[in-house]
Symmetry: C2
Subunit: 267 residues, 2 copies
């Protein structure tokens, strides 16, 4: 898509109005893409995103436009599987993509002729729009031609676009759960521990920032610090005692410390 | 310490030559403090840090200078307890501080008259010097006067200086283990998973950066995303299957997912 004319020729229907659909829709819209309609089961979400993209919306699968060129489905996994049969019927010529890290491209097989995957790997919230240019986008398509089409759209939005087969994408998504969802939860647990002693979470931010700055220069293995590296039993036992009122945190603490120690011994 | 003259009047001995001693020593030296000697059991570390700070060094506890005003002990916890009796004897007038998050100030009791804690909370490596100005420093001292002295030194180095009693500091250190050491280990585990599929860890960095950028604006609880929030059993079961060759990762995955789900239900 080298210019606005080309972008206008590709009629898009956005199926979904959640965090990913919102961020992706706004990015496409700002690049001049023709988003013809937004669909979501949730009326309020559909209406808000439709307005944001200056386009129409529907909450009824039967009212999804039939004449789009590209259907981008950004629904949670169970809703995706449910909608596919109805969405694809009578739309033989269109290209269908989903945006899920953990779902194989084959989910479209038997339903659509042209299909693929458009997976932007990022932690997205409606309340915080991110600059799409820095989001790595991973693509897959049944044919070379459709891969080329998806690549031209993706490269309009992001500087980091790669083809990645389903098997590797599944692994990527799993790694992302560890590196993003699980680390964020550790921040949340730290915040809880601090709150018990009336310490504001903000004091932790310089440490968290530096932890991340380090792994831009060193491998996470090289960057590892803390009592578990040398298995300082004295500190570890004392910290486990402090968690006595939180048995599930004790268990997490023990597992993570053992895992750190195991990894540093395997260097 | 308003000026270099004052800084020169405070003779400092740095006990330790590890990551923290190195970063702290370099920061003090660059501010014009008079570091009279470096001690470390490890000759090579002592020599390198001594050179870096243009000062002498020793590897023998018996040769530590007796006439310093401030002894800053940055040793690992077990080594600290061992050295205290020998270090404090015959040095009645000096001020002693340790730099450990998890050790009570009382460790000095019965050995020294003037003592305290100087805890810079950061993940420090010799290979990567950090800007000390952004490191939160937490102080404690037996007397108001010594607290004032420590505060003047700390404020020369950092913009973020607070007094914090031992009990709260212990909690802070525990929270830091979760927010820094454990999160870094999750990065290391993600890197291992990716390596098994020949995916470079670098693709993960935009996601990791955004995860951290978010908690500068939202609480970690509000920022939480991923399959565990809504307990998407379909994805969770598939990802657990993918970890079948790594039982310890399966266990971690399960515990963290349950913990995330529990927290999001308690909103």
């Amino acid at each position: 898509m080298a210019n606005n004319g080309k972008r206008q020729e590709l009629g898009i229907v956005l199926v979904g109005a959640g965090n990913l659909a919102t961020n992706l829709g706004v990015a496409l819209h700002s690049k001049g893409y023709d988003i013809r309609q937004v669909y979501s089961r949730t009326g309020e979400s559909a209406r808000i995103l439709g307005q944001r993209l200056s386009t129409g919306y529907t909450t009824s699968p039967g009212e999804i436009y039939s004449d789009a060129d590209l259907y981008i489905v950004a629904l949670k996994d169970s809703a995706l599987a449910e909608l596919i049969p109805q969405l694809t019927v009578g739309r033989q010529d269109a290209l269908f993509v989903h945006t899920a890290g953990s779902i194989s491209m084959d989910v479209w097989e038997g339903y659509a002729h042209r299909y693929g995957v458009f997976y932007p790997m990022q932690t997205l919230s409606k309340a915080r729009l991110v600059d799409f240019r820095n989001i790595p986008v991973f693509l897959e398509a049944k044919t070379e031609e459709d891969l080329k089409l998806l690549r031209s759209v993706a490269e309009d939005l992001s500087v980091s676009v790669r083809e990645l087969p389903s098997e590797q994408r599944r692994c990527l998504h799993l790694a992302a759960v560890f590196a993003c969802n699980f680390t964020n939860h550790l921040y949340a647990l730290a915040a809880e521990l601090l709150a018990e002693h009336d310490i504001p979470f903000e004091v932790m931010l310089p440490l968290i920032d530096e932890t991340v700055a380090k792994i831009h220069e060193l491998s996470p293995r090289e960057a590892q610090t803390g009592p578990a590296v040398r298995y300082d039993a004295n500190i570890i036992e004392k910290q486990l005692e402090m968690l006595v009122a939180h048995p599930e945190l004790q268990e997490l603490y023990r597992l993570l410390s053992e895992s750190i120690h195991r990894m540093s011994n395997n260097k």
